[in-house]
């Protein structure tokens, strides 16, 4: 009887999970495997895929070229390697900046009076849920040569009476960095807040009683205990910055080409889906490797789910 009941339970569980498994396998795992298969293929003349097995797409991304100017049989073409390096550097810089901006705010909210905490969190969620594309557009308006920032600066300069030449800010690497920081800042604030909120107040009191000054308390108590939040936030920021193409597309113009743009263009203009697939898998591998080593070093908290 008991055995039958347990078997019954198991079949109920299987029944309940089946639709989810269909979606996860059908629209996540199979597509990833198909991307892998295609990445070994070649593009046909009409833009379709010829299924072959070759590493040519990967060799091309890594920059090993057989079409050399100097007549050698092999040489290094840094075009795509530079795109990969630029994407990694931007993701790293954005993440560091986001941490620097998010931490004080998260700390402020975590130590706000419990009654007001929800209001402050609400104020973080509104920009987060405002559409991604709309937020990029907002920055286009701010950064444009005739845009808001230059208008305000020009007006201020006029007040003081100094000549003012508008800054060229849109379509620069700096604009892309600001856009990325803006887009993903809330993803860092929330997990850091979650881990800071858990810190028991008595720990601060104990540190103060034992004679630690605020800086020492921060370095020895607050910071170590909030590391799970910083780690979770880093993953939530680093991964999407690596893959985003709208920010660089709209704020960087043609100046800033990231791996996301590279992948998008291979599919959009029917250039070479096999090369795009290979680039997409390289992107996935890069994020997984960084995430893996990072979480192994610092641990993997539940904060990632809390956000």
């Amino acid at each position: 009887m008991l055995k039958r009941l347990r078997e019954n339970k198991s079949s109920q569980g299987t029944l309940l999970i089946t639709p989810t498994l269909i979606f996860m396998v059908g629209l996540l795992i199979i597509p990833l495997l198909l991307t892998l298969i295609i990445s070994f293929g070649r593009r046909s003349a009409d833009g379709n895929v010829i299924y072959t097995f070759g590493l040519h797409n990967y060799i091309r991304i890594l920059g090993i070229s057989t079409a050399c100017e100097g007549g050698q049989s092999l040489c290094f073409d840094p075009l795509y390697a530079n795109i990969l390096r630029r994407s990694l550097a931007l993701a790293f810089n954005s993440t560091v900046l986001v941490i620097l901006l998010a931490y004080p705010l998260a700390y402020f909210i975590a130590r706000a009076h419990p009654k007001r905490r929800n209001t402050f969190l609400f104020m973080v969620l509104v920009p987060l849920w405002t559409n991604f594309v709309i937020r990029v557009y907002a920055w286009m308006m701010l950064l444009r040569t005739q845009g808001v920032i230059n208008s305000v600066l020009g007006w201020l300069a006029g007040l003081v009476g100094i000549p003012f030449a508008p800054f060229e800010m849109l379509y620069t690497p700096g604009a892309v960095l600001v856009g990325m920081v803006y887009e993903f800042l809330p993803f860092m604030i929330l997990p850091i807040f979650t881990s800071l909120e858990k810190i028991d107040n008595s720990l601060y009191e104990a540190a103060a009683d034992l004679g630690a000054n605020p800086i020492r308390t921060f370095l020895r108590v607050t910071l170590p205990l909030s590391m799970p939040g910083v780690v979770a936030g880093t993953i939530l920021v680093f991964i999407p910055v690596m893959g985003t193409f709208i920010v660089s597309d709209l704020l960087g113009g043609r100046q800033v080409i990231l791996i996301g743009n590279l992948i998008q263009r291979q599919f959009l203009d029917a250039r070479d889906p096999t090369f795009g697939s290979a680039a997409s898998l390289i992107l996935m591998a890069m994020t997984l490797i960084v995430t893996f080593f990072y979480t192994r070093k610092f641990g993997f908290g539940e904060e990632i789910v809390a956000a």
Partner: protein, 293 residues
């Protein structure tokens, strides 16, 4: 010692970061009332009803006064059809993902079965891979499958299988399920099995126990999961971008298309409405969550 004491540095930094978060959104809203049509600079607020002098000799009738661009928006067929598509996709995918995701959460939290570890792990994949990788994968799947089916079934012209609303909806269900499941699972973890056991002891069968005991208890989790799925679907750009086809343009895709061409304050009016809707949803979500605790 006052536990809520924060140093002036923290306070100043907080004000600055909030300013950074809100300045672009406020600018966006202000420009929705711009009297200049090109929207490159701010030509002042629209102040009158009736004929409206645009730059040059253009005169536009504005029965809505300061809300000219909002009225203009409702006249725009593309916006209206994109709104309809966006809401259709969001509603269908939210309902499906909520049902499927809640079932999965119950399975993972209450039952033992084969592939349990694999199932749980697969739910984390969308979180740890960039969205574009998932979008590309689904695009490759659909385009290869459709190519194969079109040529093997000999489909031509309008009967050819193409990307469109169904492919977008299916993809949205797929990326929403993990979020619903994780939210409901967190809720299930928090509550005591003894309530269900008591109901069973009192003679309720499993179905009655579920509807009268389990479901009411997880309802806040299910609702916040559903709202999360709804906002994710409304907000999604990347997955939609790669799975959409002719006639299935959503609002984010439409706005993106506009940004690469000409921009009028209409886009700002649209964004303003969007921000207001989002504020309402987030407010609701927070009310549900604060009632939970």
């Amino acid at each position: 010692m006052n536990p809520y004491k924060r140093s002036p540095f923290i306070k100043v930094a907080t004000v600055l970061v909030y300013f950074f978060l809100y300045a672009p959104i406020i600018g966006l809203i202000v420009f929705a009332f711009n009297s200049s049509r090109t929207n490159v600079f701010f030509g002042g607020f629209i102040t009158q009803w009736g004929p409206l002098q645009m730059e040059g000799s253009t005169v536009v009738q504005s029965p809505c006064g300061p809300f000219h661009w909002f009225c203009d928006l409702t006249q725009n067929r593309e916006v209206m059809s994109a709104t309809k598509n966006t809401l259709t996709i969001a509603l269908i995918s939210t309902i499906s993902a909520t049902v499927i995701g809640t079932m999965a959460a119950l399975a993972l939290q209450r039952y033992n079965f084969k592939l349990k570890g694999f199932s749980q792990l697969s739910l984390y994949i969308p979180i740890v891979i960039p969205e574009i990788v998932m979008g590309i994968g689904i695009l490759v799947l659909f385009s290869q499958a459709f190519n194969f089916l079109n040529s093997s079934l000999g489909l031509l012209g309008d009967s050819r299988l193409t990307l469109g609303l169904p492919t977008v909806i299916v993809s949205h269900i797929a990326f929403s399920i993990p979020f619903v499941t994780l939210v409901v699972q967190a809720r299930l973890q928090g509550f005591d099995k003894s309530f269900e056991e008591a109901a069973m002891d009192l003679g309720a069968n499993e179905l009655v126990t579920f509807w009268r005991v389990t479901f009411p208890m997880i309802l806040p989790g299910v609702l916040s999961g559903a709202l999360l799925a709804f906002t994710l679907s409304l907000d999604d750009f990347v997955i939609t971008f790669f799975t959409t086809g002719p006639g299935a343009t959503t609002l984010p895709i439409y706005v993106y298309g506009l940004l690469r061409r000409i921009i009028t304050p209409q886009v700002n009016a649209l964004s303003t409405v969007w921000v207001l809707v989002v504020v309402a949803i987030v407010f609701l979500l927070q009310r549900i969550q604060s009632r939970e605790t």
